[in-house]
Amino acid sequence: MADPIVRIQNLKKAFGDNVVLKDIDMDVQKGEVVVILGPSGSGKSTMLRCINRLEEPTGGHIWFEDIEITSPKTNINEIRERIGMVFQSFNLFPHLTAKDNVMLAQRRVLKRSKDEAERIAEEQLRKVGLGDRIDYFPAQLSGGQQQRVAIARALAMDPHVMLFDEVTSALDPELVRGVLDVMKQLAAGGMTMLVVTHEMGFAREVATRAVFMEGGVIVEQGTPQEVFDHPKSERTQDFLGHIR
């Protein structure tokens, strides 16, 4: 097996006395789609946010493409260029149009020319089905459209890994589908993805691996069929029972 694209070892994170991540070990191979499940407060999002150091781990190590991102010597901004992230609350820049949202980091971080950034922005927005909305401001778009702009914004940086943090949780049910479709396409294209979600259908259909977390530890992991249909741990069974 090749070297994992993301390697997490003994990851610990505490907010003061509140220990959120106890001791996480996980390797993600290139091309994998890992779905992370678990009740709220189980540390799923925190783990995801540690991978691009939006949260500073309190212990352990994380490597991304053989660079230890938890080392103080690492320039985290360079790593973040290659790790795309999509948030539950979209976090589009409200003062910029959809196209400018997608162009900004290309121009300022990757130093792409205006023409190139514009071309890529339009292409990415077309891919997420918003070719006719490129000059709209976020406030003029629906939640689902905003979230797709956010995905396009991340993809325009040519990331090697995409992190999705409950990206459909804030959406009205009828808007969820459009976003999931984009993610399915992305998975089909071979993108390495770590997805925190409650969408079981999506997990079952797209994931190459399901990870169940609770209380800051990984309780169980395996193929979606193994975890969903034959959960070994009682807590996983309990959680899945509640979801259904």
Binding site: N52, L54, N77, E78, R80, E81, I83, G84, M85, F87, S89, N91, L92, F93, P94, H95, L104, A105, R108, V109, L110, P138, A139, Q140, A150, R153, A154, M157
Partner: protein, 445 residues
Amino acid sequence: MRTMRRSRGLQRLGALLCLMAVVALVVPLAALGIGAAGTTMTIDQTTGGLETRFTYETATAPGETVLGIDFAFPEGTDTAKATADAVTLVGLQRSNVTVETQAKGTSVKVIFSPSVEPSSTLRVVLHDVLTTYAGGKQTVSGTYTTQTGTHKLPPMTFTQGAPTVSQRIGFWLNRQPLVKTWNSVPILNAFFNPQLIAISIPILFWGWLLSIALIGVAYPVAIPIGLATAFLKMSKLAPVRWIASAYINVIRGTPLFLQIYIAFFGLPLVGIRLPDFPLGVIVLAVNSGAYLAEIFRAGIQSINKGQFEAASSLGMTYAQAMAYVIIPQTVRRVLPTMTSEFILLFKDTALLSAVGIFELMMNAKNSAANTGNVTAYTVAAVYYLMITIPLINWVGKLEQRLALSEGASGSPGTKTRKSGALEGMARMAAPVTADAGTPDDTDGR
């Protein structure tokens, strides 16, 4: 023969003495004859275009009885309302003379009854001669009539200043019956005296320009001070935060008036001497910088944390995230509060009048002191309002637009309340939470 010579010598001596005596007599009586040397003409106004009192002093020559004098004033003079009285002095005998006045165009003819006797001193006072607007040296000529006929009056000169346009309007207004009625109402006269309005407008205009210049330099200087201080206040290093807090609290916690006094009277004591204008600008900028720092800090902290995270997740540095994501949103959000601060600072330029800067308030104060009437303050108020009212309206529109644009992505009600709270917070330096403040435009200074 010798005697004769001697007597001739005596005669010559006598003639010389006589001549000396005559000269001695004539010199103090130089004003013998109307308009002769020693005649004077004085006026009681220094500006043209006003009802002026002319005092003409002369003397009649021996054997010269004067029946009347016809004064010819310069072109533009209006003598229609002129009246005259006269006094004569013969020896020590002083007597009033009845005077008949005949006004015609630019001339006034005065006829004495009884006629002025020879060798008397004569003083004629002409009241309410409306002088010409022209400035400089003016000549009064004319004729006088004696028992022997009419003679040319030697020309006399007086000097006056030309009134400004606004003074002319003021003088003109002063003569209108409607204005007189208006001014007979004490409150109208005290606050809205038409003549003083006309006169104050140009005088205060220059003060207004200076006030605008003060704020026009001070406010753009205050913005970077405020922005820098806001970042210092959010620094990770505690001592840096303390310095920023100390500056903000001292400035916000003391009156601007006091700060002006310290700068203008305190700094020279320690050898720091600056001209008034730059020093005034510095005090205003340093003062406003502290308020803007709190406005900016509250504005930056009101931007959702997710914005910074999204920028970071795209690989942007702290500086890039601030410059391209946080600050542009902050500016939009704090623009109404910044404008309110501008309005406050503009009004506060008036405090600089206390240290002798001739801005709008100082000019108004001088005019009011000179005229004993507060109309100049009313005019000053209008000058201030000419700047502040449009800005106040603009702030209102900005806030509406902001509420609309932010409300589009969420419930308009809550967002409007939040932006209002932000403004209140900035002014009160309350903890940054959405519900901590209420919209508050009142000045805390």
